[in-house]
Symmetry: C2
Subunit: 162 residues, 2 copies
């Protein structure tokens, strides 16, 4: 389930089988990237359009998302190892704790990104700004916390700004 | 596991037992709020100090987090029902899809908040800006994505801005 080797300075710990809450995979993210080397390190709002497919019975929960201009996307990095507490990212060689990094390698490999909302389709959301592999499992969609109150001006249905 | 009733306009769907990835509870969040009615609807950077306790074997993963001035906190809203696709939040009475709300009620009740980092202690992080109940299970800590590159100016160890 992993394609990472341990680099100098990194530290893995013995971890039990996970015994916490269990997730639903609520959809699947379609991106142009099929292997890690091609993925951007961080998504850009000018990146390519990506289509987030939402599975039943959750599609109805997209109602009203089109009022927002950006959306927080939570996804599960299913190829990441989960046992590293210290990491040495390739780009600087310095060793840091996992919680001081946004690396996909972490005890709960959940990615969070604020993506630009392009459009909502029946059962899907098209966005820009993702950086994950094609086929990545979707965990949640939320309106941008900065836009949540008030809603983004100029979007249909938005109330006048407070 | 829930203390919500369904309000007019809301819609619950039949959902299976979760069959997706399983989480580690990596710590516990201490806040002044012991019931939902007291919780702020949204955390404020001027809110009270809250202490996030990190469990072993994950404590070493905090190394270097003190360079950042804000931290993204992911937590599990363990009292939330998971089966609503349409919701009518009390404050406006309008019905919207779950993915157009930041409500704790969602298929995967993961809260995300950008908190102000006050200090890092051995095995714990003190922050302001949380809005969750005392005892909430911790899922992840990440540096603020906006500060991740470059690091926050003025923090020890930060490289010169690019």
């Amino acid at each position: 389930m992993t394609d990472d080797d341990i680099r100098p300075g990194e530290k893995a710990v013995a971890i039990p089988i996970p015994d916490g809450p269990q997730l639903y995979v609520i959809g699947r993210i379609r991106t142009p990237w099929t292997n890690r080397k091609d993925c951007p390190r961080q998504g850009s709002p000018d990146g390519p359009e990506c289509r987030i497919e939402v599975f039943e019975p959750w599609r109805e929960a997209l109602a009203g998302l089109d009022r927002f201009s950006s959306v927080e996307v939570l996804y599960w990095l299913d190829r990441s190892r989960r046992d590293l507490v210290l990491q040495s990212p390739r780009h600087d060689g310095e060793t840091r704790g996992t919680f001081a990094l946004r690396s996909p390698v972490r005890p709960n490999p959940i990615g969070t990104v604020m993506a630009r909302l392009v459009r909502v389709e029946p059962g899907a959301v098209v966005v820009r700004g993702l950086d994950c592999l094609d086929g990545t499992p979707l965990i949640d969609l939320k309106p941008d916390r900065c836009q949540y109150s008030p809603l983004a001006p100029g979007k249909p249905g938005a109330p006048p700004a407070a």
